[in-house]
């Protein structure tokens, strides 16, 4: 059963990823990316890591995709076709990518992974204790740094996207 679900998910992920990087319509490409991200979250559900699957659905499928769709709608006309690279260039890059993939796969398949048979579910409780533990191996410092980073990037994004300041002086000159 898990085998069939895994192969279906893998097919969905790869097919829609290819569609997403080769589609000519911008908005469709974003929606294909949404399918890829949902498939990846299904993979996390399958691997018994429900917390990350929920994060994937909320942050990526909920947040990033909406942000991308908004920016596409603000920037493009919906029916506008994207400019693609030249065919010769695309073929060259595809061959180079396949070459790199071959190197990766030969490396992976020639290495003997020592797999530990288990069926441990990662609970949210374990993750919370690990993230907030300040003993050896705890992750409290990166956790705090990430929260500062998110705050800083939020302020930065607001300031950058706001653009020039509209004051009374600017209004007079318009």
């Amino acid at each position: 059963m898990e085998r069939i679900i895994f192969y279906i998910l893998a097919l969905i992920i790869i097919f829609f990823a290819i569609a997403s990087v080769s589609s000519k319509k911008m908005l469709r490409s974003v929606v294909y990316l949404l399918f890829v991200l949902c498939g990846i979250s299904g993979l996390y559900f399958l691997i018994d890591y429900n917390f990350l699957a929920a994060i994937q659905l909320t942050v990526y499928a909920g947040g990033v995709i909406v942000l991308l769709i908004f920016s596409v709608m603000l920037v493009h006309h919906i029916e506008m076709e994207l400019e693609l690279a030249k065919v010769s260039k695309r073929i060259l890059i595809a061959v180079a990518s396949l070459l790199g993939l071959g190197v990766f796969l030969t490396t992976i398949y020639s290495y003997e992974f020592i797999v530990v048979e288990n069926s441990i579910t990662t609970t949210t409780e374990d993750i919370g204790f690990g993230l907030l533990s300040y003993e050896a191996g705890g992750f409290i410092l990166p956790f705090e740094v990430i929260s500062i980073l998110l705050l800083a990037s939020m302020i930065g994004a607001i300031i950058i996207a706001k653009g020039t300041k509209i004051t009374n002086k600017n209004n007079d000159s318009l």
Binding site: S71, I93, Y109, S119, I160
Partner: protein, 105 residues
């Protein structure tokens, strides 16, 4: 771990996803499309972290934490990149890579 699926199959899928992302990153001419390809690459690496943790060291949690941190950094990066793209569009009315030569404010 997933019953009946070896680690090799999952690593194959993530490698393919990674190189699709690389292909899109190089061939696309549009800033938003390039950002989407970067998302694909980051997602492939997150799956790798989780899978290697779950298959090889199931009683550890390091890969799990790193996957959360990668997602947080990727979300911050996307928000900033889209802010920059929208601001750029306001100034030069284009998001094509070849038109992007001013980054001065």
């Amino acid at each position: 771990m997933i019953a009946g699926i070896s680690i090799y199959e999952i690593l194959t899928v993530t490698s393919i996803l990674f190189f699709i992302g690389v292909y899109g990153f190089i061939t696309r001419k549009n800033l938003i499309s390039i950002l989407m390809s970067v998302e694909l690459i980051l997602n492939a690496s997150v799956i790798n972290f989780v899978v290697i943790n779950k298959y090889l060291y199931p009683d550890m949690l390091q890969g799990v934490f790193f996957s959360i941190f990668i997602i947080a950094v990727a979300a911050a990066e996307t928000a900033l990149a889209i802010a920059i793209i929208i601001n750029l569009y306001r100034q030069i009315a284009s998001v094509e890579v070849k038109d992007t030569e001013i980054m001065k404010y």
